[in-house]
């Protein structure tokens, strides 16, 4: 993306030409990969022409004219916003999400809306109403989820960059499985206004890009206080690109014992250890740390997230917008059948679990207990960050698995979130960087930072990407 910015500024290409290039490429490969739910050519070219005019009038800012793909969880005014679900298949958003509004204001060009697990629930992009997304590195494999469409599109270079959202790993894990860079900001750093809610205390939108530098460029546009989001952080926004070139000499990296135990896939371990050695060569030092409650993060997450989702998804009732069943007998039938027919199996599973754990008689045993564990998990990180500057480890338990391999075993899918969910429970920023391959499938390195330390993460990521070239790899078919 940074290179494209230069190309536009040096008048080597116009935004209109650049946009047409990406539109053609996206259309060419979409049947194969299924990355996009919507490609809006007319809208994109209009925005591109406008961007070229801004540039001609000397009013262009950094990202003016750069094409971007938006995860279909962000409301886009007058453009279909489906959240990967039959429930919103007919939904034309009447307003723009703040993230979309900010990118439009920056003069960016929206190519389309990317495919995703239904209502952001999933780790494989197999639960989408619009079908599974394919991993461009191996089309029999999943791209990860829930931001699978965005990850696949960036990896196959169908777009220079994309947005994603992360509730339990949904930016980082697909970034890892597709060999791209993905950043989940600190909770509250990026506005959730217009971002269809899954779990309100965990959700965060963020950039999915080829490089840490690109992620920094996007963060400058995406981040910031928004009065329309009651959980938005008032903290001022840094220039995330300003510290990219800082030396990381003296950086203290924490390696959690619990991440590097016997259950870690040996290939992943080797790649992650090699990556950390690169950081040591740049002057960082490693310290072993403890995150004792890591194991409990999965049960806590799979109580908190479904509970919050059961509440958030109660707005989908067939009355005001979205899917309504045919010939409802009475109001109850309207609710029950609209929701029963509009939601897919994974979504219904999570709504049921969430309803159960919040219901009378079970609230204390499950939800309250999960919130106490959440406190312990957060405190584990607070303690760790007294000793170290960042925490490093694997992002995912292994490379991309085959499509359908885990579909009949949701528990196995849930357990693979072990390295990512505690970060959401604690609200910390974290990033996945391409760090190597297992066979022909990418493996990511995860870096976790302290609250609002996105600059530091991006700095470390950028320095790592100066001495490695994993982030430059593209699957042969998509070069």
């Amino acid at each position: 993306m940074a290179e494209l910015v230069s190309a536009l500024n040096n008048k080597q290409i116009s935004s209109e030409e650049l946009t047409q290039l990406y539109l053609d490429r996206s259309k060419q490969f979409n049947d194969e990969l299924n990355c996009y739910i919507t490609i809006d050519e007319a809208h994109a070219l209009n925005q591109a022409k406008h961007a070229d005019q801004l540039r001609a009038d000397n009013k262009a800012t950094v990202l003016t004219g750069i094409p971007i793909a938006q995860k279909d969880i962000f409301c886009t005014k007058d453009i279909k916003t489906s959240c990967g679900s039959k429930m919103l298949d007919n939904f034309i958003a009447p307003y723009d999400a703040t993230v979309v509004e900010k990118m439009n204001a920056a003069g960016m060009v929206m190519l389309g809306k990317t495919n995703m697990d239904e209502f952001a629930m999933g780790s494989s992009n197999e639960t989408s109403y619009y079908g599974a997304v394919k991993n461009p590195w191996n089309k029999d494999c999943v791209p990860g989820g829930s931001s699978g469409g965005s990850a696949s599109a960036v990896a196959a270079r169908l777009c220079p960059a994309a947005t994603g959202t992360d509730t339990g790993g949904s930016i980082r894990q697909p970034a890892s499985l597709c060999g791209i860079t993905g950043l989940k900001p600190t909770y509250g750093r990026v506005s959730r206004y217009g971002m269809i809610a899954f779990a309100s205390s965990l959700d965060q939108g963020g950039p999915m890009t080829q490089t840490a530098e690109d992620a920094a460029l996007l963060m400058n546009t995406m981040a910031g206080f928004d009065a329309k989001d009651s959980t938005s952080a008032a903290k001022p926004v840094n220039d995330y690109t300003a510290s990219l070139n800082d030396s990381i000499s003296g950086l203290k990296i924490g390696l959690p014992k619990q991440y590097f135990d016997n259950s870690l896939n040996p290939e992943v371990a080797k790649i992650v250890e090699t990556a950390i050695k690169e950081l040591e060569k740049l002057g960082a030092t490693c310290v072993s740390i403890e995150l004792p409650n890591t194991e409990l993060s999965i049960p806590a997450y799979y109580v908190v997230a479904p509970a919050e989702c059961s509440s958030n998804l109660s707005r989908f009732d067939g009355v005001r917008f979205g899917y309504r069943c045919d010939d409802p007998k009475d109001l109850s039938d309207l609710y029950c059948r609209s929701r029963g027919e509009g939601f897919g199996p994974e979504v219904k599973r999570r709504i049921m679990i969430g309803t159960y754990v919040l219901s009378a008689g079970y609230y204390d045993a499950y939800y309250l207990q999960a919130q106490k564990i959440r406190h312990l998990i957060r405190d584990d990180f607070t303690e760790a960050f007294k000793e170290v500057d960042i925490i490093a480890g694997p992002t995912a338990t292994g490379p991309a698995f085959k499509i359908n391999e885990k579909l009949n075993d949701p528990i196995s899918m849930y357990l693979s979130d072990i390295y990512t969910v505690s970060v959401n429970l604690a609200g910390l920023p974290a990033m996945s960087l391409p760090a190597g391959f297992s066979g022909d499938l990418p493996i990511g390195l995860q870096l976790i930072g302290n609250y609002f330390q996105e600059s530091r993460l991006l700095n470390v990521g950028h320095q790592y990407q100066q001495v490695t070239d994993w982030h430059k790899q593209v699957p042969a078919e998509f070069k």
């Binding site: 909770y187 205390s201 599973r349 679990i353 312990l376």
Partner: protein, 95 residues
């Protein structure tokens, strides 16, 4: 930890989700499996720990009691399933 049929039916009613009769055993199995997974939380004594709803200690932001939104009913109702004179239509509720 197993859940019986009537429990599934009760949860489905609370969640306003229509579930087919044949699908109920599947839900029983799946939900039981998930509950077994989350049961592991009880291995920890959290006696004195305060529950937190939110990762960071933030309080709700207050603002002045002034009108800031405009009425956009027609815009929002453009894609509604069924409306009339600005009302959303649903099957009769009161006999």
């Amino acid at each position: 930890m197993s859940i019986d049929k009537s429990e599934i039916e009760k949860i489905a009613l609370l969640a306003r989700l229509k579930i087919d009769e044949e699908a109920i055993p599947n839900y029983q199995q799946e939900l039981s499996n998930i509950l077994t997974l989350v049961e592991r939380m009880n291995e920890v004594d959290t006696g004195n720990v305060e529950p937190i709803a939110h990762p960071l200690d933030i309080a709700s932001r207050l603002r002045a009691d002034l009108v800031t939104e405009t009425n956009q009913r027609d815009n929002f109702q453009r894609h509604a399933p069924s409306t009339k004179d600005g009302y959303y239509l649903v099957p009769k509720v009161i006999e």
